[in-house]
Symmetry: C2
Subunit: 186 residues, 2 copies
């Protein structure tokens, strides 16, 4: 089930960051502005409403800091429910659609996994990602083989970048999987 207003990329990024440390809205903004967690809107018009939604859903909880001023900053942290929700999101199976259209979100999910879900979940995630991505790459290559002759130069080239990107992701997933399994045995 899970409450509403909890399913966007931005919400996931917020939950993930708050799982590491409590942060204010502004603290989140700075992270979105200055680190590689790009792609997730840093605009106040997105962040503050998202925080309100997450708090209304009981997934995060804000405590006023700097009590003695009229404009207190609020440090948010995950609630137990929020932690459970994050685990649930991180543990979801990977579908073909995720690989085709939501690779960014998959990466975001993976980046928050360490220490939050067990190694077996991470292993399963990477295994499924490698498999689905390979499958998708094969489909793209078939399409390429079938239609390359009809496509203009730029269409053909764009499609072939799609193939290469899939290759890069699948290779990364297999390599990371191997690293993880090595660590586990040690």
């Amino acid at each position: 089930m899970t409450e509403h207003g909890t399913e966007s990329d931005l919400s996931l990024a917020i939950l993930g960051l708050l799982s590491i440390q409590p942060l204010s809205g502004y603290g989140l903004r700075k992270i979105f502005l200055t680190t590689a967690i790009k792609a997730y809107s840093a605009s106040p018009g997105a962040i503050y409403p998202a925080l309100q939604r997450l708090e209304a859903a009981g997934l995060i909880e804000g405590r006023a800091e700097r009590r003695n001023t009229r404009r207190p900053s609020v440090a948010y942290r995950l609630t137990a429910k929020g932690r459970a929700e994050l685990v649930e999101i991180l543990s979801r199976p990977i579908g073909r659609d995720d690989v085709m259209r939501r690779m960014d979100k998959l990466l975001l999910r993976f980046s928050f996994m360490s220490g939050f879900v067990g190694t077996s979940v991470m292993i399963e995630f990477l295994r499924a990602l490698a498999e689905e991505t390979e499958r998708y790459r094969l489909a793209l290559e078939e399409e390429f083989a079938g239609s390359a002759a009809d496509l203009p130069f730029s269409g053909r080239a764009a499609l072939s970048l799609g193939v290469e990107n899939s290759r890069t992701v699948a290779r990364w997933a297999r390599r990371t999987l191997a690293e993880l399994e090595k660590t586990r045995k040690t």
Copy 2:
């Protein structure tokens, strides 16, 4: 300037496809459902309103086919204004933000270029893409070097996939650029 309702990925995909051949709403849907132009919503709730917006803006024009039935299908084609608009969109400069957050749109743009804009525009596009992507890759690598020690395993791994993806794109851009320049000389 350019009218409203014309700037989304979906609108660009529609303009691009109609620049190749006239299509009905359903024809567009089928393409989104069955080819590599994934990532662009195939749902009627997105496509039909988008077509209405583009027609209202004077960029496309629908002609009723199958006149004698009560539910005619409508074949849309680009107007002169729509062609001009598409050329303008395809020719826009590439910014850092595009490379960080809108790579899909850049690829979509490139895929429609052949025959629609001159070789010099394509060359400039690829040159700028390679350059910006390289720059971005360097920034990611710097960030990786600076924070890898603090990051948990999965965060580090996700960041390193970001680096590899940038490498793949930059390499593709340089290679495609070389191909294009060779073709030109022939």
